[in-house]
Symmetry: D2
């Protein structure tokens, strides 16, 4: 009953098999054939024949590299309160960008509204020498609260951003889960909706540790490559990142794993919603649930071995986050529900 995070789950068997198959010797730093295959694969899947694909081993690296490539040191990056890039990466975006400023905006259910962005941008006078310069918008999809932006919502936000010349980043740590939830194509969810750079997550969805920055503007590709190297994120045995990503993207494994996680979450949500005094806090659209429940129930679940994180307390109630993963089993869910009943 491990609901702490999807990065607590292990490596999907298909991915581990791919790692084991990668033997012998090969040129380091991405000079190997698997890396070339992955680039071709990503470009095909995203219908973006010129996209730059930079593999890294952590989501924070992917986000920070993407943002630093999109914004100058004096840029303002707009994101929602509680966005991972702002709240959970120890200032990585500021570090990689040499001091950009993250401007947080409120938003219902984990999502930004176009008007909120518009109002925030209106507070910056174009050409004002005294203020930082609006430079980028960063969205997260699946959001940190488990909700999902439709492609039309992404497009509406990026349209506002573009009126002021901002570039758009999508933190897709759970990108596959968002695709499964919306049925959108990778292209529709990204560049066709105005996204300039995507952090394409893999680690939370069955990889050992592999993410990709997918940069749709080839003019910035060289800068991204340099930034990756300079930050220590160009791995020498790069083919082992590539082997993970190839296994992930080939044959739709990434979507199958994400579907397993989303469906598990839906079953868990459905079970929880039948319980007295237990409340789901946001629509469960992907693989995360935020649940309000009595502290006694919470304790009982933990005593029985369930693992999950707290997200607040009011009176004798707790809010907890439950995350389903590709390896969450029906048995896990049934056991957890049984405890709460």
């Amino acid at each position: 009953m491990f609901f702490a995070s999807d990065n607590a789950s292990g490596v999907a068997p298909e991915v581990m098999a791919a790692l084991c198959a990668e033997g012998g010797s090969a040129l380091p730093y991405g000079g190997d054939p698997v890396t070339a295959e992955v680039t071709a694969l990503v470009r095909e899947i995203f219908a973006a024949p010129e996209a730059e694909v930079a593999l890294v081993a952590s989501g924070t690296a992917a986000n920070a590299l993407a943002l630093a490539t999109l914004t100058p040191p004096w840029g303002a990056v707009f994101c929602r309160e509680g966005a991972h890039v702002e709240a959970d990466e120890c200032g990585a975006a500021e570090f990689f960008s040499a001091g950009a400023k993250l401007v947080t905006l409120p938003g219902e259910g984990g999502k930004l509204a176009p008007e909120t962005l518009e109002a925030a941008l209106a507070r910056f006078t174009p050409g004002d020498l005294h203020a930082v310069r609006p430079a980028a918008l960063s969205l997260t999809n699946v959001t940190e609260l488990g909700t999902v932006y439709q492609t039309s919502e992404v497009a509406a936000l990026s349209a506002v951003a573009r009126t002021r010349g901002l570039l758009c980043h999508l933190d897709g740590a759970r990108f596959a889960n968002a695709l499964v939830a919306t049925g959108a194509t990778p292209a529709a969810m990204t560049w066709r909706s105005g996204i300039d750079a995507l952090s394409l997550g893999g680690t939370k969805n069955g990889l050992l540790g592999a993410e990709a920055v997918v940069l749709f503007d080839p003019a910035r590709a060289e800068e991204l490559r340099i930034r990756r190297k300079r930050s220590g994120h160009l791995l020498s045995k790069h083919r082992y990142l590539a082997a993970q990503m190839r296994a992930y993207l080939a044959d739709g494994l990434w979507l199958r794993l994400a579907r397993q996680a989303n469906e598990a979450a839906a079953r868990l949500a459905s079970g929880l919603s039948g319980l007295p005094d237990v409340q789901l806090q946001h629509p469960v659209e992907a693989n995360l649930l935020f649940v309000d429940l009595p502290a006694t129930l919470c304790r009982r679940a933990r005593d029985a071995g369930a693992v999950f994180y707290d997200y607040g307390a009011t009176g004798d109630h707790m809010t907890v986050r439950l995350v389903c993963s590709w390896n969450t089993t029906d048995a896990d869910i049934a056991e957890f529900l049984a405890i709460l009943r």
Copy 2:
């Protein structure tokens, strides 16, 4: 016949087996039990019960994190010309440290001499407000030219450094090879010889991608942890770094693999030294060879499938680097020598 680099070799079978064995779910970011075991193991092996152990996926990350933890932004870091941290990491040390200055010094056979360091330090007047501040010494062992510092040489250099308050870093991308070459203990080669922080390499010696910063001064441990997180180098599925490092250090696998590489290099050197018009450029003390040979021979080897890098040319002769690895076979060596004969 892959002599390009030891990071071109694959993953040692024992290490891949350890990765495969790491299933189920576990707390992310190092909250898992394997990580705790690795810390204990490193402390035991280095006889350093308070050392901080920070696993990362690349050698550049290890070096840059270590140096940034040892020097302020206005610090000068002294190293040899051609040191990896200076020449091959795209300014990572400058980036992580927010602008420290790497001061390069000449040195015979890849090694710094204490007098050279002393003279360089003498050019900095203590308290001079206009100059950066001497802050750290960075040595590489095995050196970039394949030679090896004895522990007494490390101690002599760190002693000079300490007279001016510098902290000492050892880039041990090939640390196991240096231990095998010298017979020194890990403690003798590091803190007992005045080293404050070690980049303990694994990737070049059979790991998939795992290195450790071993920091002997616990007062700086929290800063190192923060810097790792902030730079995107704290991997979420951290246990897969830890599983590699545990397999590597437990039962002496690291030394066995390094010995294989060093011995292969010795055999290759011995074979080459018998060839007319072929010259070894530096003493072959570990697993790297620098060889001067006719350009025609060089071409012939490449045509036959040998892979290696050039390091210069004079007239009709080339200098090439040959690197042996844990997976270099006798057959590789015999075939290569046969081509050259």
Copy 3:
């Protein structure tokens, strides 16, 4: 009728005379006798015999140097929404600190309340590796809205900050005006109320361009000196900064000039408050006024030559900021009021 800003006013005659008197040759970079005198003078006035005094030519430099000396790159600096360091310095604090994060908090009338700070700090879990670290509090006195913190208010805020180990900075671009408004001593308004570093303004109060960072913790003095040099803010003909500051602080000139400005503002406020359809937005406690008035009046004043900045508009009303300075005359005020009548 120049009410745009107090930095639009010229140089007080006493200060210009001091500059003219500074002839001949003298050691550069603060090695001159006037600089030593200024340090002694500041220490005496602040009853802080060990304080470090670093003169610079701009308020942004003073603020950014002070904050960078108080916080690590991964620190969070708490300040009020609209604080000059956050909104008007183009990210200088982020630049100087190598990426610290400014966290903005709401506050009535330009002032932070202790409970607001307390609540903000409570959102940071001690030791949380994923978040930046609460490191500093930055207050502005006189505030950006022209109100003034009493020493007890500063002390209450710094007390909250200290419970979490934060250091405290005071942006005193209009410090003299705050002293005059409150009657507090320099020591009471700073270190006796928990302030660790003060940006002591001079430029807005009659100097040509001179501010001081006054650092009450001598342990950080060397770092401040290095940061000033490295950022190009250690002027070579430093004695001309020192000559300004000596003229300013000796014989109470700074307080006389500030009193002139505050009294002019009081007279202006009193005149405005008698006008129909004209509203003061905040208590006028120092030399800044925020005035709500009909757009037609606003236009009429500008047509007659008055200079001031807009701060918003609602319907047919404008909000404007009026700043009085040491050189604001009774005639200016009378003329301005006459136009509005």
Copy 4:
């Protein structure tokens, strides 16, 4: 007998008069009319109608802003050993550029030779992902050793730089002295010889504290303006920088003052060259002299009140630097020579 540095001299009377004349109120941050005049004046003098002119109060600021505008964080900046930007600015270039690397090259008599630059550039393989990128050349004229580049020499160096895409910076802390020494026009010494950005010094030649970055590529102007603001170098009472620079450039004052300094140095050199056991170390082409003399003479001069800096010692001889300034008098020189005789 103040020969320590030209920044030890005071403010030229014409400049102080200009400051005194600048009264009343005016818009801050360069919104005043004097600033506009200075921009027009510089453009006219340099025959560069689109040049961006950014005034700052220190030479380190000018150099660091110029270099940061010309190079990315991963750029290599080539300069001579002992260049002020490398040796005397406490890493300002690294700080402003977020970590660029200064690569020092040897050079006779304070001057770089084109072949030396060519050889250094040849060590960087284009597109090498592991190394920093050659980005800029920084020359100093008058050099740190008091010699002077002819315009043809500047052009030859910049031509080499351009073959590899480098931009060229000229540290002109003593630019007027170089013009006087060579008879070159401002345009010939800068953009017509391939210079992209000039640090135009004023402080060492009679100003209180004012320098200008003159940027000949208008495409980078906005970045320069932002960098100046963000680093605290946009002074609020900017007109007092502008007033200095206007007085300096109008009517050729800058060249008159520089001629006085150069001529004084020539007279001093001539007097010294007649002395036994006293040796000039480099051609005296501007206002700096490096003199080898017996330590006893050196002591005698200091005992008599002469002020100057040491630059080394061999046996019983010292090397000292003597700097003449616009305010060096014949009496100073005569007295100094008399002591040595």
